[in-house]
């Protein structure tokens, strides 16, 4: 226990903290895998748009008295498959459709959250949905969160090679008898799972941080996809747990007014992205020729 003695007294015994740590860890791991694939595909914006559509789902779930996780997931799935069905030839067109979906998602979120707030039933709903609810998760949340994590990891393990190939070179996958379209759908499902759990952690509109941040940092530190994903997961995990600890401790720093945990996590993710590649980039990633 001496190793953990720097932790505040009672930190690990607190139920809300335990739930936060588990949820944060699951979010970090799934987002790392889905995020690296999203970066390879060059779909940061589409991934971000998905988070805003998932916000609408989360808000709707709260309106009907359900937990937001199912709503986040449903929203992200609907958004993802919606974008997939619109026929798109050029990348700029794809960004545009992502933008339109994003606007629609935020519009619907605004509508539903406005309803919830004006009905006076849950005045905190905008913050819960948009900026997360990590410290106020109900005890029953661990099971669904773990299932989301397990499904994403199993999908990643089953389809590692075709998923990567579909992202890097879809034509080659077709030649080998695989289906790029199926892999796009698998990727979308993993993305939706990542967005849903991250939305619980740092909020729907900040879940992009988990998805893109560690993956982008890891990409600059490692060239091999598998190692990049592992590195991204570790970075996300450190930022997630560090942010939880930071938010917990900040209660003492600023006269009993804790900093939002979503701010702390995002701050660590961004700091890692700014600091690590310049320091370790050359060490870990041999410079490419030419």
């Amino acid at each position: 226990m001496t190793l953990l003695s720097f932790l505040p007294a009672g930190f690990l015994d607190s139920g809300p903290v335990q739930r936060a740590l588990v949820t944060g860890a699951v979010a970090a791991v799934i987002s790392a895998i889905a995020g690296v694939l999203t970066l390879i595909r060059g779909q940061s914006f589409a991934g971000h748009a998905l988070t805003d559509v998932s916000a609408a789902g989360g808000a709707a779930a709260v309106l009907f008295g359900a937990g937001p996780l199912a709503g986040f997931l449903a929203g992200a799935l609907v958004g993802g498959f919606g974008m997939e069905t619109v026929e798109l030839r050029r990348r700029s067109e794809r960004d545009l459709v992502a933008g339109i979906m994003l606007g629609l998602g935020l519009g619907v979120s605004a509508l539903i959250l406005g309803r919830i707030v004006s009905s006076g039933s849950n005045g905190g709903a905008p913050v819960t949905i948009l900026f997360g609810s990590l410290f106020i998760l109900p005890p029953g949340v661990i099971l669904p969160v773990s299932i989301c994590g397990a499904v994403a990891v199993v999908l990643a393990a089953l389809f590692t090679r075709p998923l990567l190939l579909a992202a890097l070179d879809p034509d080659l996958l077709t030649v080998q008898g695989g289906s790029p379209r199926l892999m796009r759908l698998v990727h979308l499902t993993m993305l939706a799972l990542a967005v849903a759990v991250s939305s619980l952690t740092v909020g729907a509109i900040l879940s992009t941080a988990f998805l893109i941040g560690p993956a982008a940092t890891a990409t600059r530190l490692s060239a091999r996809p598998g190692r990049t994903m592992a590195l991204a997961a570790i970075l996300g995990l450190i930022a997630g747990w560090g942010g939880i600890l930071m938010s917990y401790k900040s209660y003492d720093w600023t006269d009993g007014h804790a900093w939002p945990v979503s701010f702390c996590i995002v701050a660590l993710i961004v700091a890692a992205h700014l600091l690590l590649p310049p320091v370790f980039g050359r060490l870990l990633k041999p410079r490419q020729k030419g």
Binding site: S44, F45, L96, G103, G107, A110, L206, T208, A209, P260
Partner: protein
């Protein structure tokens, strides 16, 4: 609906719609959607800080939007993964969240910053919006031809020795200006819809740039007018309707495109 205290809201949102419609056209043809989304949300801490300090928001919003525009221009609008854009966006959102969490009505403030608050616009606010929009329109008029050339035909623009990078930076600054005018009214998350929805529909409806630009402004105006009417009548947050309407316009645009394609093919 047209009571005295509403008049300012009508004027201010109409001005914003004109500017957003114009700039939106170029956002769409240049494929700068992510930047146009990140700039308003990146200015969110400016508004939050202004509220916290109890000062007029314009200078702080302009500062954050301008900073974002320069940063995004430097990182390259067309960088392959948009990573810098995404990280700028989330850092600023998180910072805004930290600032707002210090306010008493935390949740209400989050809602107002993101989704807008148009009722009770003061005379000074209208003047500030008018000034920003005037600058935007003038800048757009001056930049119209070089911007169009560098967007539609980079080769021709290179041949004409247009300063490509400076044009890109100026364009992002104009987006930042529109953002600043619109942010306190329609909300950080909705400025983007107002820029992209009407403009993307207009571009699908006609291939002539001038017409598309005009149509984009008209559609943007009709969007904010209906949004404001609904906000007043049904007590909807103004942003809700703007976001949904953007998607509706895009759908209409695609239908028009598809129909006219069928007619042309016979």
């Amino acid at each position: 609906m047209f009571a005295d205290y509403m008049i300012n809201a009508w004027i201010a949102t109409s001005l914003v719609a004109v500017a957003a419609g114009m700039v939106g056209f170029f956002v769409v043809v240049r494929g700068a959607a992510f930047a146009a989304h990140a700039l308003p949300l990146g200015a969110f801490p400016g508004l939050a800080a202004a509220w916290l300090l109890g000062i007029a928001p314009w200078s702080l919003i302009l500062a954050f939007a301008g900073l974002g525009a320069f940063g995004l221009a430097r990182s390259g609008e067309k960088a392959p993964h948009h990573t810098a854009t995404a990280l700028w966006l989330v850092s600023m959102l998180a910072l805004g969240n930290l600032l707002l969490s210090r306010m008493h009505a935390y949740s209400n403030a989050v809602f107002a910053v993101l989704f807008g608050e148009v009722l009770g616009v003061s005379n000074t606010q209208v003047l500030a919006v008018a000034a920003i929009v005037a600058v935007t329109v003038i800048a757009m008029a001056l930049l119209y031809r070089p911007l169009l050339l560098s967007t539609l035909s980079p080769d021709l623009a290179a041949a004409a020795a247009l300063p490509e990078r400076r044009i890109a930076t100026l364009f992002l600054l104009i987006v930042a200006l529109v953002t600043s005018a619109a942010l306190p009214l329609v909300g950080a998350s909705i400025v983007f819809s107002l820029m992209v929805g009407p403009a993307s529909a207009a571009r699908l409806m006609t291939d002539r740039p001038g017409w598309a630009l005009g149509l984009s402004v008209l559609l943007a105006l009709s969007t904010v007018w209906s949004a404001l009417a609904l906000a007043y009548e049904a007590d909807w947050p103004i942003g809700a309707f703007v976001g949904v309407m953007g998607a509706v316009w895009y759908g209409v645009g695609r239908i028009v495109r598809w129909q006219s394609g069928r007619l042309r093919r016979g």
